[in-house]
Symmetry: C2
Subunit: 620 residues, 2 copies
């Protein structure tokens, strides 16, 4: 089915929007009228531009405040329609969207609404055009699709049909039950798709600012698509999103996300299967872009956390540092993507590596979802690790999960130090937290959800002393402690929060901290302290409150305090002990995390205290 | 009455918050517990710090999830209370706020709630402490103040009283009717004040993110204060605001706004009168900070708009440029505040001047509202024009309104050119639009509303091609066309919009455009065109739509198009014709506006087209 996107989803001028839609792989566009009004060329030139890009103009929209108006508005509305038909013919589109009237003056008279729409349809038909009627959730008298259908049926004109929009239906708690029985397929003229987070606000504000692409929100959009298909709809699958952040973001990225969301939607609705989501079994390594100097500094920082040089790449200036099951790669290879990143941004994470059951299948899934993929140049005999590019351009490597007897990936590419296999204190990587510019969040949400099948946790709000940080974690994989992949995504509107400052320094997105899993946080902290690791001080007042909140004894509280440990416990009594380092060069930092079996969070209750301590550390 | 503010209103560490509250003139603070938990010193040290700054600790808050819990939580809660009493005694505060329980486990049993609060009160009393019970709007079983009062009355302990919060009451559409009859004054322990915009969202999200200081929102906070005073309340008037932008803004500015809001609130509630708000009769001039080079360039730009050099300051490098009733001052005086601003920001507006009935009275009002005021150095025989500093540091001069026979202010200070009194085409200044960083909006809202008595118009959302611009205009003065003072305030979360880019360049706030009033926009544009003024092109598609929307004839539409004029018309048929210049040095721009009598807007319907044309102009 034809994939289409409304120009209002994208930022920029009409030519920008058309080019971005075409580049992403859409076959059609809805022209949002304001985009045409602001365009310097004629409607015919706009139409040719779309055609030259291979884009059908699937719809012209919206035509507002039409039906059931008293005279003289009724006649003037019909004149207005004729002018818009002129525009449509020049533009080369057949269909216009008429949305239900929101004006105070509109009559509560479905028969009049039907008569008006029939008249407009008759005029459209004379020019070979047609119109679709859509119920806005905040329409004055017509706010449900069933009401709109009653009016369309009553009007009974072949050039008039029904337009559905998943947001308008789902935001009201409504559904499409009975659609296939009530509406003949030829009367289902057009269907628009939008998702949204579940917010408790008025539908107009919700719709105008907080829509999102399917898969980025919480509405049951796949079910909606299944229903329209069951009703025989075969027209375009078209996205219509009003979103403040999309309007401000680069149109190419947003258009790519839009197409990805439709590929995912097709899969979810059972329309077009994709290679299955992966079975994830943890984070194999995190890779840093460094140069020789930064590598030495970071290596010293890591050594204080008990990491040791465990291997050197056979052909590149790349080192493996390891502590137990936690692997960090320090990439100082000149003339590489990592070197380019280092030159731009200084020492930062340039790649994550997930352990997956079948890297080839996941690469095929990612490519079907229009993700750029990456295959590194390799030396002879070295292993080629496939990778997917995340929305910020960093890489996600896909490492074949290995069993107990299997050859680890490291042996092909690295000269391993003899002691590299000696056990360390850390079990692995508990989670990797990314900080994102607010406009990047939805791109990452769709990326992790659609490509990897990760599921979002409940959102959190974390008060930094200089503004709020919103956090949403994505989790997946084997539900057994360290084998999980856990990825908190943090955004902040404020540029003064730790998250906001980091995002500004990284021009949009980056790994802000890495939490290592340990079975004994107190021991891990003690060992780190002995190696003079720079740990974050936690104020005594925090521990006094902790004791009061959880009824902890003096000895237990004192032990936590002595080890700089924060503590959390869920309703079922599962505990979480964690400590933080100071940041490395005012950039990223590390966490030592002891996760009690069953504890699913990240110690969000402690975030305010932690962030205040970090800001204070900075101020010194 | 003691003015108090909760530390949660302000950004930064606890010492920052205390210092800002004291500097603004508060006499007390509520200590929000998380601020203490993040503080490195002991509670006793925090208490001493407050005392040294002259701040009483009016309240310790919040104590959550207390009443009507099953065992063992009930006993643990009482233990927890004892620990908090320890903290309060160290801190040196007598009162703790207990907010109604939101937990699923809490029993729907007011008698149990009363018994629990009585027990906690008895324990508090043993230490000379007391507690106030507050109904949260989203409390599980107690969400209204009358319910909270029933429980407090039932508990009947002298150390237990009621706490009220204007937000929790007013957000539910509730009021304080019956308070004075029901609650004895000695049981009214504490009252918190917060305003908020009227939003249709769940009270929890509304409360946590969108509260504001009294006068910044739309709730009837003055009436709330009147009711609590009528009930005999004589305790602190305390602000408790949760606002994402306050959290991210400098604490000194926000604290100053908070105190200003309380002074205004006292006036509004009839508690303490202030010198009356002014009668405004227009904008006398707008002043630009320039240097010699920028002055020559700006003068050339203005000359193309029909302005002429009308006078030169007697003692400073300051020129008056005039077109009819519109005055612009170009200030290139070295070693002045304007020169400092120019050095930092380039050519920008550094002052506005309002015509007022009584500048001295308004200065007294501004000083009572804690606004910094300014009296310039003047040469001998020159007129001293008093001024108030706006929240962004620019000046608002107060010019004595003159009658037909009065000596104009310009004659004292300027050597006027002989032709200066010759009539020009412009009637005056129609409006001055300021662009603000989002976190600055509430400061300006309170400034214009409290100091000048300006009233906010309905908010608008304006779609720039690269993000949304929110606009809210403040209007006041003689309701006669050009005599009005009209000040649209525009904010944009996106840094890619015209507004966002301008705000970034100006580090927070500035005048983005000035609209001149004309009785004949077509003639004004024609004259400007003949002088080769750089005018903004409007696409032909705009005019085709305009004709369709308003049913304009061909000749009328062609005339608008020929003059680059945008057109708007309100529901009553009052018209607005306006044209824009290109920006001066990618900074501010000008508008020529013909406002039909009765038209109260700013052509918001045309903003999308205008902003797209401006962005396109940039891209060239």
């Amino acid at each position: 089915m034809l994939r289409s996107i409304a120009t209002v989803c994208l930022s920029g001028t009409l030519p920008d929007k058309l080019e971005s839609a075409a580049a992403a792989g859409f076959g059609g566009v809805e022209i949002f009228e304001q985009d045409l009004l602001s365009f310097e060329g004629t409607p015919a030139e706009a139409g040719r531009m779309a055609a030259d890009l291979g884009l059908a103009v699937t719809l012209f929209q919206p035509f507002r405040d039409f039906e059931a108006m008293p005279e003289p508005q009724r006649s003037r509305n019909l004149d207005r329609a004729e002018r818009k038909f002129d525009t449509m013919q020049a533009l080369g589109t057949q269909m216009i969207l008429v949305c239900s009237n929101t004006q105070a003056a509109t009559l509560d008279d479905p028969a009049r609404a039907a008569a008006d729409l029939r008249e407009m349809a008759a005029r459209a038909a004379r020019r070979g055009l047609k119109l679709g009627f859509e119920a806005l959730a905040w329409g004055r008298h017509t706010s449900r699709w069933r009401q709109a259908w009653d009016i369309v049926r009553e009007a009974d004109h072949p050039a008039l049909g029904l337009i559905l929009d998943s947001f308008h239906t789902l935001c009201m708690g409504d559904d499409l039950a009975g659609l296939a029985q009530a509406v003949p397929p030829e009367k289902l003229f057009f269907v628009q798709f939008a998702d949204a987070p579940r917010l408790r606000m008025d539908p107009l504000s919700w719709s105008r600012h907080h829509r999102s692409f399917p898969g980025q929100g919480e509405l049951e959009v796949p079910g909606f698509l299944r229903e329209v298909l069951a009703a025989g709809y075969a027209g375009p699958i078209s996205l219509e999103i009003f979103n403040d952040e999309f309007r401000a973001a680069p149109s190419r990225r947003i258009a790519r996300d839009g197409l990805r969301s439709l590929v995912w939607l097709d899969e979810q609705a059972g329309l077009a299967p994709l290679p299955a989501t992966p079975a994830l079994s943890g984070i194999e390594f995190v890779e840093f872009a460094v140069d020789e100097t930064a590598r030495a500094e970071l290596a010293a920082f890591l050594a204080a956390l008990g990491f040791r040089l465990a291997g050197t790449h056979r052909s590149k200036a790349v080192q493996l540092w390891r502590n137990g099951g936690a692997n960090l790669v320090l990439n100082a290879e000149p003339d590489s993507a990592a070197a380019e990143r280092f030159a731009q941004l200084g020492p930062t994470v340039c790649a994550l590596a997930f352990r997956v059951d079948d890297p080839a299948r996941l690469m095929a899934r990612a490519e079907a979802l229009r993700c750029p993929t990456f295959r590194e140049r390799v030396g002879e005999g070295e292993r080629r690790i496939p990778a997917i590019r995340a929305p910020d351009g960093t890489l996600v490597y896909l490492v074949q999960a290995t069993g107990p007897g299997d050859r680890p990936i490291w042996e092909d590419d690295f000269l391993l130090a003899p002691e590299a296999t000696a056990p360390g204190a850390l079990r692995g990587i508990d989670h990797v937290a990314q900080a994102l510019a607010p406009g990047m969040l939805d791109s990452f949400v769709l990326f992790y959800r659609a490509v990897f099948g990760l599921a979002p946790d409940a959102p959190w709000e974390l008060p930094d002393p200089y503004g709020l940080v919103r956090s949403r974690a994505f989790t997946g994989g084997v539900a057994d402690g360290v084998e999980q992949v856990r990825l908190p995504l943090n955004v902040s509107e404020s540029t003064r929060t730790g998250t906001g400052r980091f995002v500004s320094a990284l021009a949009g997105a980056g790994v802000h901290h890495i939490a290592f899993a340990t079975a004994d946080a107190a021991a891990a902290v003690q060992a780190a302290s002995q190696r003079a690791a720079p740990l974050l001080d936690i104020p005594a007042n925090y521990y006094a409150d902790l004791a009061a909140r959880f009824g902890l004894g003096e000895a237990e509280t004192a032990a936590l305090q002595a080890h700089h440990l924060l503590f959390d416990q869920d309703a079922a009594g599962h505990g979480f002990r964690h400590a933080y380092t100071l940041p490395f060069q005012d950039r990223f930092f590390f966490e030592l995390a002891e996760r009690g079996v069953g504890y699913e969070g990240f110690g969000a209750a402690n975030a305010a205290t932690r962030m205040a301590a970090q800001q204070r550390g900075r101020a010194r």
